[in-house]
Symmetry: C2
């Protein structure tokens, strides 16, 4: 109770299975007394492209545009675009970040990848020697909750599903110092029976009830590739 | 000679190291007698978001929007948006796809991920039982060429760089039946001496000279995780 949660949500359709998972998380966490904020990326028409527009006013080096350098400099002088400052404020306030999305190509949809690219800039999320366990977003938790097109069996046939979590969980969250809870994966809801879909939704509600007692995963290569 | 190459390029700045790598590829491959096409995503202001706008005219199910289903149906009736049809035409004609980009968060920049999400739709790149070695884009080669922020040593400290290639090379290219050449990685050009940068550019020219003699990698979990 009193915990703050940011849900970054990337689905176009409120009636989708992802939409139901979002609704459940908002309701259950609110019921627990958490304060829940949702960034509904498609509804916000969130910009995924990393461009010069993200920097208000003059550039540090207008001869040769370097996005990483420019956003770092802009962050330090409070010169990032409004939408980024707003998302960074939400992240800063949150105790837990939940990413809710359908897996696209073994990965996040581009709109969510764009949120990572543009919001988690140097100076805000990490810095020169401040990364991994020293990252700037320590004392926060994260959870990747996603649906897949393929069944669990189909995924397992081609190697462990954990392989695809490495860039997201380790490369982004762990790099910023954010602890990572077990992912929540709903396999192939589009091909499941109505009963099975209800079971999957109930399992998410159930998990959320004891979420705050969970221990983060061990963010080492062994967790992913053993 | 006579081979067709599509370079999908994702950098904002022509004067960047990625810009130099692109220029080298265009020049060297053209010199070999290849026909080279470039999709310069930032210059095209390529749209990375997967939305209803990608479908021209009526929806298959306007009650509940499902991007995968709608683009599949639209593909079959020639109803995808113009920019997608144009990119698919370029892919269809190409013998080799080169992706040139700076690594953002252990992954492609969002604008390039959006190209994957929107261009490689069902019916065009894969189909119900047509994936992996049966994928619809067989007899094509691909090559991921990218720069990193961190040095090789820094990457190696946290597990093999191949781990992050799994979603891109296996999850996307291999899934569509496209063969994958060894990735081309330029580590931390921003922190390298002018001499070292020149060496890296020369190495790319050199590799391109014998590119057509290369054998694709073995796209199995063993290549990535051994």
């Amino acid at each position: 109770p009193g915990k703050k949660v940011l849900i970054v949500y990337a689905h176009q359709e409120p009636k989708s299975f992802n939409g139901s998972l979002l609704k459940i998380a908002v309701e259950e966490l609110t019921k627990q007394g958490c304060s829940v904020t949702v960034s509904d990326l498609y509804a916000m028409q969130f910009e995924p492209r990393a461009t010069r527009n993200d920097i208000v006013g003059h550039l540090h080096n207008s001869e040769e545009f370097n996005y990483g350098v420019e956003t770092w400099e802009a962050y330090k002088r409070g010169g990032l675009s409004k939408d980024l400052i707003e998302e960074q404020r939400k992240v800063q306030e949150a105790d837990l970040l939940i990413f809710q999305f359908p897996l696209f190509w073994f990965n996040m949809p581009a709109i969510l990848k764009g949120w990572m690219d543009r919001v988690l800039v140097q100076g805000f999320a990490y810095d020169l020697s401040k990364s991994y366990d020293g990252g700037l977003l320590q004392d926060k938790l994260s959870l990747f909750s996603f649906t897949t097109g393929g069944t669990k069996e189909r995924f397992a046939k081609r190697g462990d599903v954990r392989y695809l979590l490495w860039p997201m969980q380790h490369g982004i969250m762990h790099f910023c110092g954010v602890k990572v809870l077990e992912p929540h994966i709903c396999y192939a809801p589009a091909h499941a029976s109505e009963e099975k879909r209800k079971e999957m939704l109930a399992a998410w509600t159930q998990r959320l009830k004891t979420l705050w007692k969970e221990e983060p995963i061990d963010c080492s290569p062994e967790w992913y590739f053993k």
